[in-house]
């Protein structure tokens, strides 16, 4: 086991940030911690990178205990804290050289590891880190976290606030890294990124809602999910919420994800109701649930 978390809890004053969390990450796995702000992701990361002491529980990283062997862990993991934390007034090159040096290595030594990523920011290597765009900053931070060839990589919300294109590129880089045998623990609030992980843990308010492979998790949706569409989204949402048999009504892009209370639900009934609400161009069809649907169902 690369990472092992057993009944870890951590509170700040009276707020329980992490509540009895347990999970394991296998070697070479790309594991996602999926949940919104305040779910406890950052606290958990800080415990695993030995920056915080848990109130209860035991955690190990690469078979090293986070309390007793913290020095060894600090020498051998790669860490990218949330919200870009590199030196804004140092250039790309200077940042990399610095991190390589303090880990007792050099850029040349492990260049093959960061090459794919570094070539994208290399043209800007003399630019101050603070002047890079969001996507570039993330790439630089990733390089700095990898420069010493860590066994385990901790990435805390590396794609938050970054546009979809850069996000997609970032995850492609992660997949390639995974092939080099690095264990990666990533946290993200973007549910669509969950599908790219080997396994995920859905986390909300300090508790784990579910852990499994993304494909398996979506199978656990308890009801039949429908895409409902009409011309006026706002009116549609209002009408559906007022429908006495509705179980859940969530807008999802151009459609509304709808589930019904009844087990013998007939979409035609719904259609008539919506028509009576003066809605037009009504569409009702079944659809596959996504991670986000599961999340909202579990978090209810």
């Amino acid at each position: 086991m690369s990472i092992s978390v057993k009944h870890i809890s951590k509170s700040y004053d009276d707020l329980k940030a992490v509540d009895d969390i347990s999970f394991e990450v296998k070697e070479g796995e790309l594991f996602g911690l999926i949940g919104p702000d305040g779910a406890g992701k950052t606290t958990l990361f800080r415990i695993l990178t030995t920056l915080l002491i848990p109130d209860e529980g035991i955690a190990t990283v690469a078979s090293l205990d986070v309390l007793k062997d913290y020095k060894h862990i600090r020498h051998s993991v790669g860490y990218m804290p949330g919200r870009f934390s590199l030196y804004q007034d140092l250039t790309v090159e200077e940042n990399l050289n610095f991190f390589a040096a303090i880990f007792g290595t050099s850029i040349e030594e492990n260049y093959d590891l960061i090459k794919d990523i570094y070539v994208q920011i290399e043209p800007f290597k003399k630019r101050r880190a603070g002047k890079l765009s969001g996507g570039m900053k993330q790439k630089l931070a990733l390089c700095c976290a990898l420069i010493h060839k860590p066994k385990v990589l901790f990435l805390d919300e590396p794609t938050t606030g970054v546009d979809p294109v850069s996000r997609k590129e970032f995850w492609e880089m992660l997949k390639r890294l995974q092939q080099k045998g690095i264990t990666i623990l990533v946290s993200t609030p973007y549910m669509d990124e969950a599908a790219l992980c080997d396994r995920i843990a859905l986390i909300q308010d300090g508790k784990i809602l579910k852990i499994d492979k993304p494909q398996e998790i979506v199978k656990t949706f308890p009801k039949t999910l429908y895409n409902v569409g009409a011309d006026n989204m706002y009116q549609l949402i209002k009408s559906l919420k007022n429908y006495k048999y509705q179980y859940s009504v969530y807008p999802f892009g151009e459609f509304v994800h709808y589930t019904d209370n009844r087990s013998n639900f007939n979409p035609e009934d719904l259609k008539h109701y919506l028509e009576s609400e003066k809605l037009t161009n009504i569409v009702i069809e079944t659809t596959n649930p996504t991670i986000e649907d599961i999340f909202m169902e579990l978090a209810k």
């Binding site: 938050t160 979809p164 706002y234 949402i237």
Partner: protein, 243 residues
Amino acid sequence: MMHIENVIVVKDLTKMFGDFTAVNTITFKVKKGEIFGFLGANGAGKTTAMKMLIGISNPTSGEANVAGFDVFTNAEDIKKNIGYMSQKFALYDDLTVKENITFFGGIYGLSRKKIKEKTKKLIEDLGLQEVSNQLVGSLPLGWKQKISFSVSLLHEPKIVFLDEPTGGVDPITRRQFWEMIYQTANNGTTIFVTTHYMDEAEYCDRVSIMVDGKIEALDTPKNLKKQFDVESMNDVFLKLARG
């Protein structure tokens, strides 16, 4: 013929920093009551463009009229007539909910009576009775965003500018937030919103996508998907914004 009022009119708006063109002759119009999505990759010029529209940055050239005021000559009037909500800073963490509302109400020039009215309504609408005297910093992010949005509407502005309002918020709260946006738009307020959630782009009446300082697409989500022959706004974005 119904006269549809344009609350934002932009023509060839440009912003240059030295010889770097951040915003390159963008042109568009936004109707009253519209939910207008303003998208683009990081570094595409979105934020720079928005800063010009809300009157805190001087354009290099071009024309722009916001809420009936010219951005060159009446920037101060613009600020008084719009609402603004930024992801980076919304409310004071070390003031209570009530204190925040009172403070911002005061800044917008609302009378004490009005502030009292609005405070009551806001707290009722959002169900914040239990926490109205709690420090904002202690509230979950989702609540903060909702309060922040309501605060930006205190002075009943014609247009509200939302800068990535739902970043990091949980999916349920995100949707509740968008219901608030829908309601506000329904009441005639124009919504100008930027976001990185592509599903939220679908909620907009029209969407513009900026790439390297220029607007490369401007249409309804439906039409854009047809135009690029894809299923989702996410794919539209990926096809366009390979910056």
